[in-house]
């Protein structure tokens, strides 16, 4: 592309040369001292601007930025380590707390079990006592009932004997009732 452009420019240059009398201004040697003088002035000024102001300033800015970046990276590394430490401590505390909780739970369970056993034993004893009392009461009631039956039977027997016109004899009635109650035997 560039060579094409150069050729085109050459052609154009020739055309211009043919058309005008001056030719290429680049080859006008009368302007050379002027061009060279001002070019040297320009280059010296640019060189002074660069070495006195621009380059030291830019290099210091770049160095400063590099320093800041390095510091920030170091700080980040440090913070990361700290975070890791904190995480480890947290995990340790968590494990300890878990063990402690387990221990407390076991203790509580044992205490409750002991209390429960005691209460059950007490309740069993109370139940046994109540049962014995009740059995005694039943026996008493039964004995009492037997006595009452004998009494009623004697009274009834006496009345019957009296109604039949006999003379009730207390001893024989008692004996008869007793015998009747024992074994269904009639006198």
């Amino acid at each position: 592309m560039t060579t094409e452009a150069t050729e085109a420019a050459m052609a154009a240059g020739h055309a211009a040369e043919a058309a005008e009398k001056g030719g290429m201004p680049q080859l006008d040697f009368s302007t050379y001292p002027n061009q060279i003088f001002w070019l040297l002035v320009t280059l010296v000024v640019v060189y002074l601007i660069l070495t006195k102001f621009a380059l030291p300033r830019i290099s210091s800015v770049l160095a400063e930025r590099q320093g800041t970046i390095t510091n920030d990276l170091a700080a980040a590394e440090e913070l990361k380590l700290k975070a890791q430490e904190a995480e480890e401590a947290y995990n340790k505390a968590l494990a300890e707390a878990r063990v402690e909780a387990q221990r407390i739970a076991n203790e509580t369970r044992a205490a409750i079990k002991a209390d429960l056993d005691k209460a059950i034993a007490k309740a069993d004893a109370e139940i046994a006592a109540k049962t014995a009392e009740a059995q005694k009461a039943i026996a008493e009631i039964r004995a009492h009932a037997l006595e009452s039956v004998q009494e009623v039977a004697k009274d009834v027997a006496r009345e019957i004997v009296a109604l039949l016109g006999g003379k009730p004899d207390a001893r024989s009635i008692t004996a008869a009732v007793k015998a009747h109650l024992k074994g269904e035997k009639r006198p």
Binding site: A12, A15, A16, N34, L50, L55, I58
Partner: protein, 250 residues
């Protein structure tokens, strides 16, 4: 040529008129001290460099502004180039290389402003810069290595019989350096501007005007690329020559 025929139809071709050097104030011959349009645009280049690298970085911001970023990019770009090509010892000459790069790149881009003047399209300008580099590195080579600098022309890795032949070729190529160094830059810049001018002249014909305008836009885009690439090429060649002066042995 074709231009002759065209000019008879009313078209005017003055592709080289834009490079004409004229006194800025009044008429008359150009003395060595006369302030010309070229002087003006050299001065503007200095001003732009000052604004970019000194005023733009005056806040010394840790987080750079756009202008400061451009300055820092230019600094880093040239610094890395010098360091990569010429080595650690070359860094000492970084300010000189930076001066050349900044002047060329700013002058190239200023030349792309319509109706402006392209300082770097003049052979006189580029030859002076190329000769400064050539003379500078040659003196530097002899100061650093004495007569040993001539080893640059003695290709020790080649077979012994070939070395004298190669030495002649190396010497010729060494002395051609400033010529190619300077003409490459001036030629590219001049060509780009002249072609734009030719396209612009064709815009006078209604039928080809759209094509001509398209051509101007395309050439302008390419010239933007050329403006940077040629500054880069000039600078990196300077670094290569500097490297040869610092480490002449092949």
């Amino acid at each position: 040529m074709a231009a002759e025929a065209e000019s008879e139809t009313g078209l005017v071709f003055h592709p080289m008129e834009q490079f004409k050097i004229e006194p800025l104030f009044g008429e008359g011959p150009i003395h060595w001290y006369t302030i010309t349009n070229q002087t003006l645009w050299m001065g503007i280049a200095v001003l732009v460099i000052f604004l970019l690298l000194v005023v733009g970085t005056s806040r010394r911001a840790l987080v750079p502004s756009r202008i400061q970023s451009i300055g820092e990019l230019a600094y880093g770009f040239v610094y890395k180039m010098v360091e990569d090509v010429a080595g650690k010892e070359g860094v000492k000459y970084f300010p000189y290389v930076m001066t050349l790069f900044m002047f060329i790149v700013v002058a190239n881009f200023l030349g792309l402003i319509p109706t402006s003047f392209s300082t770097t399209s003049h052979i006189a300008v580029t030859v002076v810069m190329a000769l400064m580099v050539f003379v500078g590195v040659t003196i530097l080579g002899f100061v650093k290595h004495g007569i040993g600098f001539l080893k640059l022309f003695w290709v020790s890795s080649a077979p012994l019989a070939l070395r004298p032949v190669l030495a002649i070729i190396e010497v010729i190529s060494y002395f051609v350096r400033p010529v190619s160094h300077s003409i490459r830059l001036a030629g590219n810049i001049m060509a780009g501007h002249a072609v734009i001018e030719v396209f612009a002249a064709f815009a006078a014909i209604l039928a080809i005007a759209p094509l001509s305008m398209l051509g101007i836009v395309a050439m302008y885009g390419m010239d933007m690329l050329v403006a940077f690439v040629q500054a880069y090429v000039f600078t990196i060649l300077t670094c290569v020559y500097l490297k040869d002066a610092l480490h002449p042995a092949h």
